[in-house]
Symmetry: C2
Subunit: 574 residues, 2 copies
């Protein structure tokens, strides 16, 4: 038997040579038939060699009727939002049963361009998690903010040609798609025949017809059941998104029917370390879907067969001969929670813990020290020009904001934060190229009564963003962030209350995720102490700079009226 060529999986499938591993007495979740099937699972060379009886193997495990589903797939995630490097992200999600994530590295791409994308690819090698990268389509998202890098259609085509990416990540410039903008259209054309993910919040009717006709194939920005049903009917895969800060699952579960569920996947988009370590990932969405009343096998298909079809990942998403042996093993079909997880036929996690943690990669110097501001450009005072100002109104658990005109609070000729009315100062300071650009505005909904918070995580340009009550606190928070090479901080007056260094591109820590979570908890406690009523003011703040999600946002170039897709003035007519 030793003369078996290692490539000869078929002779093992035929039962002529012993396999590497047999999992006996499995209750297989068969995503093709939609049924539970009691069988042995025969594994060799990291793949499923066979199903059924009559095989032998070097190692045998009796699963004692445990359920075995295909390893789960998160259909859309930004790993950078975990504030950790891919190995630490994997440490959190693999024990949950997630064996593949379709990741859009557009956070690091906005800081470091193609170099950042390639770093994420390299940092994802040899993990017990398959990280499938998509090409960030919107770097920068618009010309209304200053990113650290630009990725052209040619740059993205190079990433596709060399196998770094599998498709085009969320095309967020939906007005560009709909209008047939040359640059966006060139990117879509470059990715013809590959999966092209969309991002089209509140795009309906005729605009939706154009968005779909342009060649986009999915959407994860549905905020109402009607919107999701319309998009699904027009041919978009619906990736139901349950992020830490943008929760659509409860709203959208009611649209799922046996007749349409094949067009639906689950994704997490952006989750904090705490969320990943406590709630989990798409495994949590499956449990909630089942609790809502969705058939368990149908729920599991939304994280297995469906995304494997949408993303042309036909080597996984099901347990079948020739597919990779990525397995999610659990005991209760009504509450699937991973007891064991296999990746490529190897047991990689058990009872919620990863078995062989992978160390973080070496980070090249060019990805450190990315946070540099030109202090002479930082002017935090806002001189009165009109009595009315446009205020960003943050809405709890939403990325969309309201755009309200309010009376300014004035002192000594300057517009001031007014904690009593929950109006705080917000600033975005360019931090990639020391241009000195600095946008200033005001925001409602964060609740700070004193102090300030700041961070270098600010979607998608990732400039330095800060919200605070007074300039001294704001400056203290900014300096705390900069001295760490990027990160998050909370300050009050000249005192730093808490900080989390994120030296990798100003986005990610090089520390273990549990440690990052602990630091993050301290930040949240500090913000709470300052008066914040939000569950997570840092994540909320990081989306106040995202100029592609309505209604009013702020970048280093100033306030953005997203509905008009144009920069706008702070001062307004009353």
């Amino acid at each position: 038997m030793n003369d078996l060529p290692s490539s000869d999986l078929l002779s093992i499938s035929r039962g002529e040579y012993p396999a590497d591993l047999i999992l006996r007495n499995a209750r297989l979740v068969n995503v093709f038939s939609g049924q539970i099937e009691t069988t042995d699972i025969v594994i060799a060379q990291g793949k499923i060699a066979a199903l059924g009886a009559g095989y032998t193997a070097a190692e045998e495990v009796d699963l004692q009727n445990a359920y075995v589903a295909p390893g789960l797939i998160d259909a859309h995630v930004h790993i950078e939002s975990s504030l950790c490097l891919p190995p630490q992200f994997a440490t959190a999600v693999v024990p949950r049963g997630i064996t593949t994530v379709v990741a859009d590295p557009h956070e690091i791409a906005n800081v470091s361009g193609a170099q950042g994308v390639r770093f994420m690819a390299e940092a994802s090698c040899d993990l017990p998690l398959r990280v499938e990268l998509m090409a960030p389509s919107c770097v920068p998202a618009t010309n209304m903010a200053s990113s650290g890098a630009t990725l052209t259609a040619d740059d993205l085509a190079t990433l596709l040609a060399d196998g770094t990416v599998r498709g085009l990540a969320e095309v967020m410039n939906f007005p560009g798609v709909i209008s047939g903008n040359g640059d966006v259209t060139a990117k879509i054309r470059a990715f013809a025949g590959t999966p092209i993910d969309g991002h089209a919040p509140a795009v309906r009717d005729k605009q939706l017809n154009a968005y779909v006709a342009a060649g986009v194939g999915s959407d994860h920005e549905c905020f109402t059941p009607e919107e999701a049903q319309e998009k699904l009917s027009r041919g978009l895969y619906i990736l139901i998104r349950e992020a830490t800060n943008a929760k659509n699952l409860d709203t959208l579960l009611p649209i799922i029917t046996p007749a349409n569920s094949r067009r639906i996947c689950f994704c997490t988009d952006d989750r904090t370390p705490a969320d990943l370590l406590t709630a989990g990932s798409v495994d949590d969405m499956i449990r909630r879907a089942i609790a809502f009343g969705i058939d368990p096998i149908e729920a599991i298909r939304m994280c297995t067969l469906n995304p494997s079809e949408w993303f042309n990942m036909h080597d996984r998403g099901a347990i079948a001969p020739g597919r990779v042996a990525d397995l999610f093993i659990f005991d209760d079909l009504q509450i699937p929670a991973a007891r064991q997880v296999y990746t490529a036929g190897k047991l990689v996690a058990q009872d919620g813990a990863i078995i062989d943690p992978v160390p973080n990669p070496l980070v090249p110097d060019t990805l450190k020290g990315t946070c540099k501001i030109k202090w002479s450009g930082v002017r935090l005072d806002v001189g009165l020009r009109k009595r009315h100002i446009r205020v960003i109104v943050h809405l709890a658990n939403q990325l969309v904001t309201e755009n309200k005109v309010m009376n300014a609070t004035v002192r000594a000729g300057n517009i001031m934060a007014d904690p009593q009315r929950d109006i705080l100062k917000i600033a975005v300071i360019e931090r990639h190229n020391e241009t000195g650009r600095c946008g200033i505005g005001f925001i409602q909904g964060f609740g700070l009564q004193e102090g300030a918070i700041a961070g270098t995580v600010a979607h998608d340009h990732h400039n330095l963003i800060t919200i605070g009550v007074d300039n001294v606190s704001i400056l203290t928070a900014i300096k705390a962030v900069l001295s760490a090479g990027g990160g998050l901080a909370a300050a009050n007056g000249q005192q730093i209350l808490a900080s989390l260094p994120l030296p990798v591109a100003g986005l990610m820590s090089d520390r273990p995720i549990a440690e990052v979570k602990k630091n993050y908890d301290q930040l949240l406690a500090a913000a709470k102490q300052l008066g914040s009523k939000l569950e997570d003011p840092f994540m909320a703040m990081s989306f106040m700079g995202l100029e592609v999600i309505p209604s009013l946002k702020i970048t280093d170039r100033g306030l953005v009226d997203v509905n008009a897709f144009a920069l706008t003035e702070l001062f307004a007519n009353g």
Copy 2:
């Protein structure tokens, strides 16, 4: 409005320019949502520009609540079996609502190789039918028969690279696939990432595990519900086949459930002109599925969305913005029968008739005159060597035969046909390269009491095949076929009773399909007059040479024991 660039579909989708055509008041069969949706369908540049209200167009049609489904897809067909060239095949199926066929040109490929494949591609241009060719994987099917051509893995890769084919057609050499045969494996590797169709009759259990692990993705040779369920559970798409001579629909309809139907498509494989003109194509399978109790939208999906997914034909299979405007319009959801058919936004058929028939193409001389035999090799007498012979037992409406040993009927030292026992002489004569090879055997089940039939359609090598009672009739039938440059004939003694010339590769007529059907009816009448009890002895005969379908078959090289996958002797021990 005249300055609209022709490429700018999006501005029509946005409603800013009038479309070419609007179909108002359609009851759209939405294959994504699984629901019927009342809407206008907006068409421009041959595509769906938009769905919904508020659009204008140069031409408007009120559908008065007719149902509109995506144009139907036949997932697997050999056009050559219609005995007509592609334009005439289209004349038959397009009025039925079929707008795409996935065609395996392996009949002509076995006669004329890549030249034949390219001819079929050229003959399918500019039709109201989209003909998607797959690369014939088994030319020749085995080395137990003599084809006119050989297609190597490199030949097939060339066809893929130049866009002639979309994937690899039915891999019939299933023993080769399962054993990891180098030649078959090379073909499968060359088509990695494309759809690879299978053909694995009665392959189960361990053999099936190996067949799937090798990379094959579908099967259309399921003869029992259990076989189909097992294959589906192992990851194969099930293409339910209802051919003129191999009918699996009634047997397999019971396996279809809402949970597995996404993995099921319908196909016709081989249908005669009469079958196409009377029963129809996959449209007939849809009606029968609905009558059986399958939900109509689910039935329609098996000929639209499902095959579009399996074959990566994401530009069709659904009515959605950006997809081709191929439409199947009918009035009764319980009995969908095409009233109108659109291809690429153009009305191409109405009330069962094609509107603008496309003329047959010019046929190059190299594809004519392909039928040449070496008369000196034709020895129809069979001298007695043993008293027992192996007899091919034909089973009505089956491609599989039985392999029975019987007493020979002997006269003057020769084995004779014995019509009283329904034992007839069968011969296959090599007709591509004048090698003089001639296989002789005996067959039961055709029922001729006198005379003979002959033809140059003999799957898949398409040598000259003949079945008859006496040598004179057999020679008359052979000569009738050869004098027509290939075709079918029935004869009695020295009289030709009926004949159908098939001068294109000895497989296809260059005449209109209605005329072909009429000739064919005359052949059937002649065969009946000779005593045949079979519905279609010519089609039945054409599969008696197919050495990959069990149990006993015959080629120009002699009898083939398909279960042993080897040539065998006519004479047996009793």
